[in-house]
Symmetry: C2
Subunit: 357 residues, 2 copies
DNA sequence: TTGTAAGCGTTATCAT
DNA sequence: ATGATAACGCTTACAA
């Protein structure tokens, strides 16, 4: 690798001059600048940013800790991170914890993986990253970030409860509210819910969104219309019957997988989705588009959360104040209107197989 | 950040001694070692690897250039890369080119994106990566890698035609052969193929695998039984009729999307997949598992390719010779036997709606 | 306008 | 067994 010293020697100037030219400090004659630039070009010289970093103490790099790259949310989040970082000319050091691969679905119950996280952080810090973005594999409370981090840190797709460590999360409540408002706008009043696991943050927020939409639509909230699933297709299938018995005209499933199960069951029961009954999902997983009929769903703002996370951390690096007082940034979902929601006409009753109360 | 100098001062030894202790050079009394180690612990000192890198000229980091993180193949490939790199204690610098986002599906027709790639490479090189892994978004000939790369380079999920730049690719031929052999083992002889685009490398290799399987099964290769699609669901749907007219007992779709289209059409036609007729896919996309019935398919060895890519490049760094003579490493697919392939009994004829020749 | 030299945090050589 | 010191490639006062 050619160094600044060699360029200087060839040009018969000092390294300081070369350095000044590279970094656009003034005070260099046009003649020498041209000569030096030409040689730099010819020699294909690129400054060694390790040396530069050592001297100037800014690495223009940020560390990204991914709980598990292969979980569906991560690639888009990281994509968003990289987009903004590229604009601001920051490099990314990636640490993939592979938590799902290592512990399957259980790692987040205790904090036993804390030491793995700490190791990742140390590594990144030793490489002089200026900030760290921790990307959770699913949204929950992240409490493995050490006290007194040496560099600004933000958590994407997870909460921290610590104002000094901003979190970037999905605005589940608003997303669900918007989705259910849409259902209501199509004439639905009796809207069943297949919720996720009861202790999930997503479940709680989305339920609140549902309740808000009902309220603003002047519809009584009937707790009997919400049942809890396990986020998987089977539980969507299983819970559909309960809601059908209650004679709902629309079913809001809190994720697309469960909506898939609802599709399956509804199909067996002889319903035509998008005609006899409405189904809506959440997340906008790849399959949503390929269901028959294509599933209307509320897409997670994965890319936008990553983008926002970069914005927040880079603003932190540049010492500007944050705008979210409590350090929580809610990012809006994206609505995908497809074909699974029919207009509901109160006059026309739909197929009714209710067991009658 | 605490430095080695401060540790030295506190311990009243020289920095050289501290350095020797950290790096396990001998010649230090147990007494001082213990004392220094204790202080290092207490002060939570981590060596600055930028400085270390500058001095020793090995960064233990490799650059990963991803054509587009959000394309389905990439996360698993990168996961494989990170797994091996973690074992070997190499760090990853990630550059996400975002080619699909920037150019949609056309960028790979010309090499106009070459300058974007070069910029990424320069950046990585300036950060002193010891090697570069280029990860293509879909398998094809990659000819944007500059001549005379300053560090070892390998391409994952793409060909280079340059022995000095090894490529890691899917063994499509073997995968297809294995899949079709399986079909044959289930009694199928008249096996239709919905191929991908005719000019695709995947199509050509998978077709060869099909032919090899037929040959070893002593079955005549009938070119009329292969039709070409566009890799999308619609073309699977459309081409199904052609094959059905030919009275095939099994359909091998060269990807899962087209298999989905075949499912749709077969369903309309009144066939029971996995009973009246067999369907097999390729790729093992997420949806394959959720089709009804679950689709038997040949999974792409994404993770394994990434893992192998790291192995190859790290071996290159350590100057060991490669084992693939021409620099191409074929990685085996993984078979997923599910429920879409029935045993075919020659005695029993299946539903026949052929238009009769 | 250009050059000299110190220093960033390490490791490595050579003394002591 | 330990320490002084040069060097890695760069930036930056400051001097010329």
């Amino acid at each position: 690798m050619v160094t600044i010293k060699e360029i200087a020697k060839i040009c018969e100037v000092s390294v300081a001059t070369v350095s000044n030219i590279i970094n656009d400090k003034g005070g260099v004659s046009d003649e020498t600048r041209a000569r030096v630039l030409k040689v730099i070009q010819e020699m294909n010289y690129t400054p060694n940013s390790v040396a530069k970093n050592l001297k100037t103490k800014n690495s223009r790099s940020i560390g990204v800790i991914a709980e598990d790259m292969t979980v569906f949310a991560l690639p888009d989040i990281i994509d968003g991170i990289t987009e903004y970082c590229e604009k601001e000319d920051y490099q990314i050091l990636l640490v993939n914890l592979r938590l799902y691969k290592k512990f399957e679905d259980t790692y987040y119950r205790d904090d036993s993986y804390g030491t793995i996280v700490h190791r990742g952080i140390r590594k990144l810090l030793s490489m002089q990253v200026e900030g760290i973005i921790y990307v959770a594999a699913h949204e929950r409370l992240i409490n493995v970030i050490p006290e007194r981090m040496a560099v600004p840190t933000v958590v994407a797709y997870g909460f921290t409860n610590r104002p000094e460590i901003p979190s970037i999360v999905v605005d589940d409540t608003k997303g669900a509210e918007q989705l259910v408002r849409y259902l209501i706008s199509q004439g639905h009043k009796k809207i069943g819910v297949i919720a996720g696991k009861k202790d999930s943050l997503h479940t709680q927020s989305r339920l609140e969104g549902y309740q808000r939409a009902l309220f603003s639509g002047n519809i009584l909230y009937d707790p009997n219309l919400v049942v809890y699933g396990e986020w998987d297709r089977a539980s969507g299938y299983r819970n559909t019957d309960i809601l059908i018995e209650k004679n709902v005209s629309a079913i809001f499933c809190m994720n697309d997988f469960m909506a898939g199960g609802t599709y399956d069951r509804l199909y067996e029961l002889g319903y035509q989705i998008g005609k006899d009954i409405a189904v809506a999902g959440f997340d906008n997983r790849e399959m949503a588009e390929f269901e028959k009929p294509p599933l209307t769903t509320m897409g997670l703002p994965l890319h936008d959360m990553g983008y926002r996370a970069s914005e927040v951390i880079i603003r932190l690096l540049e010492k500007e104040k944050m705008d979210a007082e409590d350090g929580i940034y809610y990012v809006d979902c994206n609505f995908f209107e497809r074909e699974s929601v029919n207009k509901f006409d109160t006059q026309t009753s739909h197929i009714d197989i209710s067991y009658a109360p």
